[in-house]
């Protein structure tokens, strides 16, 4: 019989957490593909939705072009970058909350809470699952765009990478704050932070259209959203090859927001875990 103690010394730390995460991901993917028809239907939905978006963009592109001449790209590409940026940013904002929520509602948090590894492996596993699905979405979007003939700038990848490294920092903070609401205010049916950000960014961040279209006093809301600077920096780096450090009007707000949001997120998330240990809020075992 294999004794646990024989493995205690060999296994521990990050390597063990990664092993658990991979096992969790493996189990989750087995589940997701268990109902293959569901997967295929979702994929078809995604492809049709994407094609509809692009044809719409081509259709209204003529009217929109005069607002986006500064970027030197078509409206379809403008929209594509907005959507891709939103998927990547959304991963950082929503994935931790989603990981906790999936684990809690499937009662799997109980499985992990009672084990010596705790929740780390499970959370990482579900975050990787979120990443997996978002990668599929990004792949479908890009392939669809190429198939339709949307002209894409893809020569400035290093500049884009810099934007991603700096621009996504405030999103990490927002993600931690969003995840902490699960136990701090018991928002188990959905994160109010995610909901609020999702609502605001659709209109005020330049996701679908430039914020210059908005009345000046409403643009004040745009200034408070990291999405506004992130989308702008992303588009300028893709189309014009700008490095983010060359655009301080975009860089500084993102750094200030990161300095505020990341420590706030870490404190709130840590406190939410302490609260869960005291109240048993992450367990459905009653």
């Amino acid at each position: 019989m294999v004794k646990l103690s024989e493995y205690e010394l060999k296994r521990g730390g990050l390597k063990f957490v990664l092993l658990i995460a991979i096992e969790t991901l493996k189990a989750e993917l087995t589940k997701q593909f268990f109902l293959m028809a569901n997967f295929i239907i979702s994929l078809v939905d995604l492809i049709i939705g994407t094609l509809a978006y692009f044809y719409l963009a081509i259709f209204i592109g003529e009217a929109m072009n005069r607002y986006i001449t500064a970027y030197g790209m078509s409206y379809a590409e403008y929209l594509l970058i907005g959507i891709l940026g939103n998927i990547i940013g959304g991963f950082f904002i929503h994935s931790l909350y989603e990981a906790i929520s999936i684990g809690y509602w499937s009662s799997e948090t109980d499985l992990y809470i009672t084990s010596p590894i705790g929740l780390k492996g499970m959370l990482l596993g579900y975050v990787l699952l979120g990443l997996f699905w978002r990668c599929i979405t990004i792949f479908v979007l890009v392939v669809s765009a190429l198939m339709i003939g949307v002209p894409l700038h893809y020569q400035n990848l290093l500049q884009v990478l810099e934007v991603l490294l700096v621009g996504l920092l405030p999103f990490i903070g927002l993600g931690l704050i969003s995840a902490s609401t699960f136990t701090l205010i018991n928002s188990k049916s959905g994160s109010p932070i995610s909901w609020l950000i999702e609502i605001l960014q659709r209109i005020f961040s330049g996701y679908y259209f430039p914020i210059q279209l908005l009345p000046p006093y409403i643009r004040l809301i745009s200034l408070g959203l990291p999405h506004t600077y992130f989308f702008e920096a992303l588009r300028l780096s893709v189309a014009k090859g700008y490095w983010i450090h060359q655009t301080p009007h975009l860089l500084y707000p993102l750094i200030i927001q990161s300095i505020i949001l990341i420590p706030t997120g870490i404190i709130l998330f840590k406190y939410s875990i302490i609260k869960a240990e005291r109240t048993g809020d992450l367990s459905r075992w009653t």
């Binding site: 084990s115 928002s187 075992w285």
Partner: protein, 348 residues
Amino acid sequence: MMREVVVVKDVYKSYPKYKRFHPGTVLGQAHWFFATLYRSKKEGIVEALKGVSFTVRNGEIFAIIGPNGAGKTTLIKCIGAVLLPDRGYIEVDGIDVVREPLKAKKKINIIGAGYWAGFDWSLTLEENLELYAVLYGYSPKEARKRIREILDILKLRDKAKENPTKLSSGEKQRLSLARGFIADVPVYLIDEPTIGLDPVGAREVRDYIKRELKRRGITIIFTTHFMHEAEQLADRIAILKEGKIIALGNPEELKTKFDVGKLVEFKAYNIYEDIIKRIKALEITYLDVFYRNYGAEAIIKILTKKPEETLDNVIDILLNSKSTILSVDIRDPSLEDIYRAIIGGKVE
């Protein structure tokens, strides 16, 4: 003298009680908003444990019995390092559970019933158990070897490639036990091992606990609602009521601890509420009535310190009420009878 493996000293635990959300209409996407609003409002505090203390010796089977809301599951969660106590000290195999919860969890295995068990219905038994084995430090290859051994012990080998949905209630509970068997740890905490099982399934599970775990010298703490289960399995029993241990000892000690007198038992036809009220007015310790055959036949169990006098008085009441007496018996009460009287608040 046997070593004390679990030490629970003066443990207190209270919970905030949240306002419950009952949507009267379908709120759709707004549901989360109202649910959050309601759930974030505290309605008060529930004191689940109020100074619980006991120790469990190496290899002992220890039962915690009590009615719903007594604090049994909270106590198991605190010992299992799933929930932090407000104050008090808990030690498992020499490790302070509050200070070093993850280290303590390497010594503990929690086995529960029902949905909380976290089995995934779209994975096979083997896949479910493999994930759990990895959580306890086995590599996937080692895990598969171990799982085959465990499934053999629990007679689930032929179901290894099936989903948990295909199992009977008894098999599902055995699957919970199988998960528990994977980790080779010194202490098992089992929450209501036979809940929801039919009598045959419940007996099977009890047999497994008694035979397999006892044989392996594992220390077991389990909770139950049923005194007969505690009596059958446990070396010692703690009766938990409203967050406090009100009695602790082996079954024989518990029987002598409470001076409840004798049990007078009647089987009779035509027992109505007014008859029960008149019997309750007599000088008795506790009364329980069970109806059978759609209420036509009743079993009246009376705990009394004056059995002969009670017998005469009850016979008078029944005959005057034109009830038909089928049988009468006077005997020593079982632990189940005493437990019902304690929980009913009639015995201090």
